[in-house]
Structure formats: structure tokens, C-alpha cells
């Protein structure tokens, strides 16, 4: 494939996703990778694959999102670095204009976004609690010896879902073990877990916010049909899972990069595919300038510092590279 497009990169705790869209916003390419604790490596790997599949495509703009958005933004030379809430909302509304509720459950956090006429009017995000997130589901699947992609399918086979306390991941796990030792069927336990996590989401994240249709369910956990069904049962409404539910954050980032093009007079600050062959490294140092002992993160490309952050004061601001000033 040749031509041009906009790149969106979502660096999350569990997965790193890359999306390439054309200037009409149509998805051309998507890459879903495991971050595995190495965001720089994941971004490089993703770009390598993109270069392999898309050849020498011209990148007109780059947007990054997710908890690793700054790091990815610096490495790639992003034109737009956006938080995941905005990115997910933009993508959901692009995919389904008029969407009123977005449920997003990712690896480490879950969010609810309420939109009216295409504009976010309210949102909430839960990061302090692991219950209900992808990591917890994965961990339980591993404990039960079930591949995560069969989790949803099994949940749908349940006939009598058991009641599991979903308030807290630790309680949920001990409750599950208890139920399993009592002799309940594994499908019933898994289905019960999905229902518990949905209740947990509604109590701890949505907290009474008006969940009105159309409701879009995205993020890695949307792959789990058991979760989708549990939401439908609890909310008594249809839940829509977008085709590219797993890369919606990256799609949003790409759309935002496309939108930001005008503001930049058509110029992109993308460093280019070749820049990925350079050596990127992060180095942490503890500043001893005051008792605050800020942990300064120093990002370097080859031997040149290209960005620094983590300081509370302005002492470390100057890196000599103007590019990292956006953030």
C-alpha cells in the first residue's frame, strides 16, 4: 500500500496499539501488541510491522494516547498528545455518531464517558481498583487454566451464574475459589464473575451517571462476550461493540492528529520511520536540588537528550529540543 495517512498510537499498560487511517478517517491498518512493560520496544516493534505492511507510506500526522502517550509522543515526534478519555470519546463518536454512553474497560483502568451531540459532557475513570479490568480477568483465566479468548464463550454457556462479590479483586478471587471448591460449574463461576464485574463497574465507575443508548462498549475487555451480555442484562439495553473495539484509543489519536493538521499548517513533526532505528533510552535520576528529590526521567535518542520530565520545578526544563515542548 502506498499513499498517505495519519498514525494513531495508544500505549496502554497492557497493550500498545497502532492505527493508520486515510484522510477520510477510514482505518487502513491496525496493529495490536503487548506492551509487556517496555513501551519503547512496543512502539518500535509496532512501527517496524507498519513499515513492513504499508511500505513507504507518507505519514501526514501522528497522535499518541494512553498512559504512555508522552513517551511515545517524544519518540515518534507526535503532533498531538491526548489523554485516553478524549481519544476514546472521539473514536466512539466517529464510529457511531450520536453515541450517548461509552463504556471502556482496558487493561488497568475502566472509564465511562457520557456524550451529547458529539460532545463529552461527563466522564469518570477508575484506576485505583483492579476489579473489573482486563488484567484481573486475565489473571483469573490463567488461574483457571482457560485461554482468555475462550472466557466469554464459556460465560455464555452458563445456566446458573453464581453470585460473586465483585467489589474488590481480592474478595472476588477468594469468593470464586470458595464457589469452585463447593463444586459449582466453571461456566457458572465465570458468568457470575462477569456479572460481578459489571455491578462493580456500575457502582464504582458509573456511579449513577445516566447510561442512555446508544451504548458503545470498547477496550480490550469488550472482546469478552460474557461481559457484553452481563452489561446487557444489567442495563436492559443493547450494547454495541465496535468492529475495532480493541484499538479505539489509537483510532481516536489518529483522528485527533488529522484534526490538528490545520493548526500546524499541514506540517507534521513526525521523526520518520528511519528514526526508529536510532537508539532510544530512558534514564532516571534523582534530583538533589531540594528535599523533594524529584525522579527525573531523561529520554535520549542516541546520545542526545530529547525530553525530560518528572520535576516539580523548572530546573530540568531545558533540553535544547523544541519538539518536546508540546505536552
Amino acid at each position: 500500500m502506498a499513499g498517505s495517512g495519519y498514525l494513531g498510537v495508544d500505549v496502554g499498560s497492557v497493550s500498545t496499539n497502532l492505527v493508520l487511517i486515510d484522510d477520510k478517517g477510514v482505518l487502513q491498518e491496525k496493529i495490536y501488541l503487548r506492551t509487556q512493560g517496555d513501551p519503547i520496544g512496543a512502539v518500535k516493534e509496532g512501527m517496524k510491522r507498519l513499515r513492513a505492511t504499508s511500505g513507504n507510506i507518507e505519514i501526514l500526522g501522528v497522535g499518541t494516547s494512553g498512559s504512555g502517550r508522552r513517551l511515545a509522543g517524544v519518540i515518534l515526534g507526535a503532533d498531538c498528545i491526548k489523554n485516553e478519555i478524549t481519544a476514546h470519546a472521539v473514536a466512539a463518536n466517529y464510529w457511531m455518531p450520536g453515541v450517548r454512553t461509552v463504556i471502556e474497560i482496558g487493561g488497568q483502568d475502566s472509564k465511562i464517558i457520557i456524550l451529547r451531540q458529539g460532545t463529552v459532557i461527563d466522564f469518570a475513570m477508575n484506576t485505583v481498583c483492579a476489579a473489573g479490568t482486563g488484567s484481573f480477568l486475565e489473571q483469573q483465566a490463567a488461574r483457571l487454566g482457560i485461554p482468555i479468548d475462550r472466557f466469554g464463550e464459556l460465560a455464555l454457556m452458563a445456566q446458573n451464574p453464581v453470585r460473586i462479590a465483585g467489589r474488590c479483586a481480592v474478595f472476588a478471587e477468594s469468593d470464586m475459589i470458595h464457589k469452585q471448591q463447593m463444586g459449582h460449574k466453571i461456566e457458572d463461576i465465570i458468568s457470575g464473575l462477569c456479572e460481578a464485574l459489571v455491578r462493580n463497574y456500575l457502582n464504582n465507575v458509573a456511579k449513577g451517571k445516566p447510561i442512555e443508548p446508544p451504548v458503545v462498549f470498547q477496550g480490550g475487555v469488550a472482546a469478552n462476550a460474557g461481559m457484553k451480555t452481563a452489561f446487557e442484562k444489567e442495563l436492559d439495553t443493547q450494547i454495541i461493540v465496535p468492529e475495532h473495539y480493541d484499538v479505539m484509543g489509537a483510532l481516536g489519536a489518529a483522528l485527533l492528529a488529522c484534526e490538528a493538521k490545520e493548526r500546524r499548517n499541514g506540517q507534521s513533526s513526525f521523526r520518520g520511520f528511519d528514526a526508529l532505528d536510532r537508539h532510544y533510552a530512558t534514564r532516571t535520576l534523582e534530583c538533589t536540588g531540594c528535599p523533594n528529590h524529584c525522579e527525573i526521567v531523561n529520554i535520549s535518542m542516541d546520545d542526545k537528550t530529547i525530553a525530560r520530565w518528572g520535576a516539580r520545578c523548572t530546573r530540568w526544563d531545558n533540553t535544547g529540543d523544541e519538539r518536546n515542548c508540546l505536552s
Partner: protein, 369 residues
């Protein structure tokens, strides 16, 4: 006697001026840092709120520096702050610290009591200096508050990121050094000009220069609103995102309300906030619960674009306010978000929420035009 007290935003400058003019040696704890936080949380009950923990950290650092007397405010609940003087005294005594603690209770119609407490600190012979000391303190206090208000209005328009903060911090040092109300005035005047000069626009201070710049009000618990270390520097961060911030609490206003008017039982402005809050909350719930509600209603009436409530984890008055905030937000159409804060090592989560909140407001503002 070497006197110390806990930090609260930039107000140590005014409090220090008060005691130093009265001839008391002041040992100022270092500005709160991670060390302060670790010392505080290590030695405090886990479910006590952040103000207690940071306070303990401040005291321990000041005692290390040779302080022997701690001044702390009291209170009458139901907010736990009124209890903290006693809790903190016991914690520090338990750690084997040698110190004296003086608790300033709210006067509640008895100004003579407050006066007697002050006399106990400074000694009867120095009471004649009280008038001068109060005059200097008041001038510093009001100057700090005025400068902060200008900072909040101008930061979104600074030419280079961080300029306003740099000028503000330099000006605070000058206010700190000023020995008379006149010098304070001069320092504040210079600061004002310096701030204008680092801004893109030279319009009137206090007016929204850019009709598209979002305006967000900060409400919540007093310590969290006033102490940047505790609230992840919310004012600076929002300002640098292009937001004009309006802070609902200023100590100079608060002092008029809670010390002067409370001492003489004069009609209080907080009554106005009480009136505003009445349709939603008509009981005193302790702390700033009612003020949080009242200020939010006031901000909605003034046409601000959003309100952010900052509260320490486990704060009962703010938990009550938080649930009511959702209803006000729906009724009056003002977006509201709550940040519950505790000991953090990373600000990422807070930053993500702030960014998303500002994006949300900016987008709907764009649409309305």
C-alpha cells in the same frame, strides 16, 4: 522559644511576619516535599486525612531544625481538623519529641480569649507591638492573595511556559523580605507589572482576555485547595493548559469571616454561601462542605465553565458535598469533577483527568460558538 507551624500554600510568609514582628523566633519548616510526606504518613493513622499527615511531616522537620513550640489551629468539628491538634500532639509525644503545643481556638464571640492566647505566646510586654504586627501581616496576606488572583488570570496568556510562576515566586520572596506595609505594597505593585510584561495580552487583569479560554472554579477542603503540594499544583497545571482558574478560598477572606467577624459576631459572607447552598444542603456538615456546595452554585450562576472539587481521601464533609455536586451539575448544567487525593508518587492519573476535563469544556465551548 522557637516557634513553628505547618505550611499552607504561600501563607507561611504572612504568619512568619506576624510572629517575627512580635519578637518571636520562627523556625519555618522546609516547603513540603516527598520527605515531609513520608515522615507524615509513616507516623500517622492510615485513614487520617492528608492535612494531618503533611502537618506531622512539617512538625517533625521543624523540630529537627530546633523548633520547640508548635502553633496549631483548633476547631469545633464535625471536621476532624479540630481534633488534629490533640492527635498530632500525642503522635509527636509518642515519638519522644520535646515541644510545647499552642492551640488557637476559634473565638466564637469571645475576642478576649484569642487575645489571651496570643499574649501567652508572645508575653505581656510585647503586646503593644501587636497592632504593627497585625498591620504588616495583613498587608502581606492581602498582597499574596491579590497576586495569586492575578497569576490565575494571566497564566493562560504567558509568553513562555512557566514565566508567570517564576515572576510569582520571585515576588513572594520580595514580599517575604518586606519590612513594612509600604514595602509590601511596592513589591506587589512591581510584581503586577512584571506579570503583565511576560504576557501576550496587556488587557485588564481579571477579565477573560480570550472568550474561548475555559474558566474553572476550584472548590473543596481548605487545605487541599490552598496547598499546591497536596493538590498536585492544580492551579499551575490548569493555567498551563490555558484555563483561567478561580479559587473559591482565600485566607484573607477567610480571616475576615472566621476570625474577625466570628470574634465580634458580625454578619458573615459565608451566610451568603449558605443561602446559595440551601436548596441542596441546609445543614452544617463540618469543614467546607456547605461552602463547596454554595461556591459551586455561585460559580454556575456566574457562568463559569466548570468546577473541580479537591478533597483529601476520607474527608467526610467533602464526601457529602461530592454526592450533592452531581445533582447541582445536572440542575444548573455546570460540569463538575471531584479529585480525591492522598499520598501520591505519580501525578499521571490526576493529570489525565484534568486534561480530559479541560478538553471536554473546551470542546463544548467551541461548539456553542
Amino acid at each position: 522559644m522557637k516557634l513553628t507551624f505547618a505550611h499552607l500554600g504561600d501563607y507561611h510568609i504572612a504568619v512568619k511576619a506576624l510572629f517575627e514582628t512580635l519578637g518571636v523566633d520562627v523556625v519555618l519548616p522546609p516547603p513540603p516535599t516527598k520527605r515531609t510526606m513520608s515522615l507524615g504518613s509513616l507516623n500517622s493513622p492510615e485513614f487520617a486525612c492528608l492535612p494531618l499527615k503533611i502537618g506531622i511531616g512539617n512538625y517533625l522537620e521543624a523540630l529537627e531544625m530546633g523548633a520547640d513550640t508548635i502553633v496549631m489551629v483548633g476547631g469545633i468539628g464535625p471536621c476532624r481538623l479540630g481534633l488534629y491538634c490533640e492527635v498530632q500532639r500525642q503522635i509527636l509525644e509518642g515519638l519522644g519529641c520535646d515541644f510545647k503545643m499552642i492551640v488557637l481556638e476559634p473565638p466564637q464571640g469571645r475576642p478576649d480569649r484569642l487575645l489571651r492566647q496570643v499574649r501567652d505566646i508572645i508575653g505581656a510586654q510585647r503586646i503593644s507591638r501587636l497592632f504593627d504586627a497585625l498591620r504588616l501581616t495583613w498587608s502581606k496576606l492581602t498582597a499574596i492573595d491579590r497576586l495569586n488572583k492575578i497569576t490565575l488570570c494571566l497564566r493562560p496568556f504567558e509568553k513562555r511556559k512557566g514565566d508567570i510562576t517564576r515572576v510569582y515566586e520571585a515576588s513572594l520572596r520580595r514580599i517575604d523580605e518586606a519590612a513594612s506595609p509600604k514595602e509590601v505594597q511596592a513589591a506587589a505593585g512591581n510584581a503586577r507589572d512584571a506579570m503583565k510584561s511576560v504576557c501576550k495580552t496587556e488587557g485588564r487583569i481579571g477579565k477573560a482576555e480570550d472568550p474561548l479560554a475555559p474558566r474553572i472554579g476550584i472548590v473543596g477542603e481548605v487545605f487541599m485547595v490552598l496547598e499546591p503540594f497536596a493538590n498536585c499544583e492544580i492551579e499551575k497545571r490548569l493555567g498551563e493548559m490555558g484555563v483561567i482558574v478561580d479559587r473559591s478560598i482565600y485566607l484573607s477572606d477567610w480571616a475576615v469571616e472566621h476570625v474577625i467577624k466570628d470574634a465580634f459576631r458580625i454578619f458573615r459572607k459565608s451566610k451568603l454561601l449558605n443561602e446559595m447552598a440551601k436548596p441542596y444542603l441546609c445543614h452544617f456538615v463540618g469543614g467546607h462542605g456547605v461552602e463547596t456546595i454554595g461556591s459551586t452554585v455561585a460559580y454556575a450562576n456566574e457562568g463559569l465553565d466548570g468546577v473541580i472539587q479537591v478533597a483529601p481521601f476520607t474527608c467526610m464533609p467533602e464526601i457529602i458535598a461530592q454526592d450533592i455536586l452531581a445533582k447541582i451539575s445536572r440542575d444548573l448544567g455546570i460540569p463538575a469533577m471531584t479529585l480525591v487525593l492522598d499520598e501520591h508518587s505519580s501525578d499521571t492519573g490526576v493529570l489525565t483527568r484534568l486534561e480530559a476535563f479541560v478538553d471536554m469544556i473546551a470542546m463544548s465551548k467551541c461548539r456553542r460558538r
